[in-house]
Symmetry: C2
Subunit: 417 residues, 2 copies
């Protein structure tokens, strides 16, 4: 692993000075080589799938690790899009001349070496390699053991291509060993890795946080709330809640809990439940909600159990709670939110202002679905992760968030007095 | 410790919404109360000093922990300066309207709770408390055991003052227990602390990095280089090197190693040594330098021992090495620099360009002394730390670097399609 780290560090230093053209060109060549090598890639994927079936992996997991023509085309198309994005490296900003005449500015530079630890999806291999190369970063990839043959084939195609470009082949390092011990070693290599990006469930994030000597971007876990205020446009609110809950229930920015103002609850809640029930949603309701929607009459509604408001459902389940006012809504969010995406539906300007000021989530919404928290939707062009921690970057992270800066100071033999 | 963390977290949530006026007013009141309480503070300091003498602390350390009238006035003046700085919290930036009509911007918010671990200097207590309050952050302070009485008196004055303001008293928490075990506990409290800022030597930084579950701002360790290129204005270069080495040799941005281009070494090195010798500088020279400046003739010059180029001297010692060209200079810096402050002295524009592009330190200098790397000098108004790590902030960190941002998304009942 140390050898991998050294190679990545050396390659990162070289890659940092690649030109925008060299990087764009390399990504386009990799995209083409993935199509050229598709037979080898699909064969490797078949080996992983066969082993997965042997190991009784769940159908959902088997689906996730499957690579077919249309998925490969999607990966290639994403890579071409990343190639075409503006290159953030080298950008100068915050330029000023100090009173003593020193000229000073910040200049964007790559972070260095990314350590990316992920689970079954083989698309992450290409996705991350593309984002890393585009931003002048080397990367050490550690994918799930279930996709090791597929990942090996994908990285093989990358290495073959890089060998024909100006970029260092060693820029993309692959941990070709399924032993979990390697992950622990990676997390200790602070001399060679500048940032750890876990892509996976709560367990993986927690493991990285506990064991890493390297800064970890925690994210992707969203217990998301929408508060329906008493002045909300109820017709519109129903549509927004529906979108936030069912448009893609398995992702982190999907709605987990609806908070409803007491004064509209008797009118609004039955409409909400009648609508979402048809979409297959089931509800976890607090006592006050149950008083309005008794379980014996509303079959999809059941009482919350302790801890239910701290669950990221990732499914067609929705928590519902009646609150007395904005204060209670904010207090509930402050206690239960993971700081991902939370919003208010209201026509009251004062409440908008207070909600935006007092709710401290990565994305705070007013009259919109939480489903927009996404690098593509926010206009970043690409997304590395959605950060719910507070340092370096918050919310969707795009190319710029894979860079840092250095200060450049130009003098005329200035000395400090 | 958990209790401290809970109090700080709750206070931080309240403090985040304090107005700029409330924060400025509170800092000015604290400044006044330090002067009003000076008798108690000096008495407490006498206890620490007496204990320090008893414990045979070095004169340098005793000096560092001494608080007298003029030092207190300095602390008060710094605090008033911080009070007057612009408040970064609430600032909106990167505003845009997305194609679908969603209005989106970033808004600056406090980081939350700072954990600050420092050594003997009692001024850090007021310094950090002031910077934290100004930026809406709560702070947990853990000062050195040698200054515990002084720190207790200082924090007492802060608490008394805060009780008469709109700001929460709990915003400044003080670890009133010299046991090192408390530091370890603090580093594990990732639920209550958002960032750890160690202020002290290499050992403290290393300890925090190894043991922390919270992101640590590593910094303040500078092995700094200046490369004197063959086209450098030698007269000016001598003055710049002298300033970088002797203006304040005990600090992190002081010069540690001079790299001199071979073609000018025979002429430049004797001048450099003759000049700096008079200032009491002694030299650690590589073989080529020794060939020009034999130790028997130049008494202040001795051969380097292994590892000497990896020492932050913090004293009147200077490493000297002759290099063949810019490549060798950059390679030496890349191997030995701590990424703090490194510069080139030259009149060659191509070499300026290459040096700035290829040297990846927090501050890269052209024709200027490294001594400028400092929040005050860079126009930030204040300085929390000088970061030599790559995430979140690099180089001098001012008020803005104690904040993060949230995304605010304003829609008209937008849903994602």
């Amino acid at each position: 692993m140390i050898e991998l780290g050294k190679k990545a560090r050396a390659a990162g230093r070289k890659l940092a000075h690649a030109t925008p053209y060299e990087k764009e060109e390399a990504l386009l060549l990799i995209a083409q080589s993935l199509l050229d090598c598709k037979d080898e890639i699909f064969q490797a994927n078949q080996i992983d799938l066969a082993a997965g079936k042997e190991a009784w992996l769940s159908p959902a997991l088997l689906d996730r690790l499957t690579l077919n023509q249309s998925r490969l085309e999607g990966i290639v198309s994403d890579l071409r899009n990343v190639a075409a994005l503006p290159d953030p490296v080298g950008e100068m900003f915050d330029a000023k001349t100090l009173p003593n005449g020193l000229k000073i500015h910040k200049q964007r530079v790559p972070l260095g070496v990314l350590g990316v630890i992920y689970e079954a999806r083989p698309n992450v291999t290409i996705d991350v390699a593309g984002l890393a190369l585009k931003t002048g970063n080397a990367a050490i990839l550690r994918g799930g053991s279930e996709t090791i043959h597929t990942n090996r084939a994908l990285v093989g195609a990358i290495h073959q291509t890089l060998a024909n470009t100006q970029l260092p082949v060693d820029a993309i390092q692959f941990v070709d060993d399924p032993d979990r011990e390697r992950v622990l070693e990676l997390l200790q290599m602070d001399e060679y890795v500048d940032i750890v990006i876990p892509r996976g469930g709560v367990g993986l994030h927690e493991f990285c946080r506990k064991n890493s000597r390297i800064p970890v971007i925690t994210g992707g876990i969203g217990i998301c709330h929408l508060f329906v205020d008493e002045t909300a446009n109820q017709e519109a609110a129903l549509e927004v809640l529906r979108n936030a809950k069912i448009q893609r229930p398995t992702v982190c920015n999907a709605l987990d809990t609806a908070l409803v103002h007491r004064s509209i609850a008797p009118e609004f809640l039955p409409r909400l439940v009648n609508m979402l029930e048809k979409d297959g949603v089931t509800f976890k309701a607090d006592e006050e909600t149950l008083a309005i929607l008794p379980s014996d009459k509303y079959k999809s509604v059941s009482p919350t159990e302790p801890g239910d408001f701290d669950v990221e459902w990732l499914s067609l389940t929705l928590g519902i709670k009646v609150v007395n006012n904005l204060d209670e809504a904010i207090a509930h969010i402050s206690e239960h939110s993971t700081g991902h995406s939370d919003g208010i539906l209201t026509q009251d300007k004062d409440n908008v202002e207070r909600f935006v000021r007092e709710v401290d989530s990565a994305a705070v919404y007013v009259n919109a679905s939480t489903r927009f928290t996404d690098g593509g939707q926010f206009g970043l062009g690409a997304e590395v992760a959605i950060s719910t921690q507070r340092l370096h970057a918050r919310g969707p992270m795009g190319l710029q968030e894979l860079t840092t800066y250095k200060w450049v100071v130009i003098g005329e033999n200035h000395i400090r007095s």
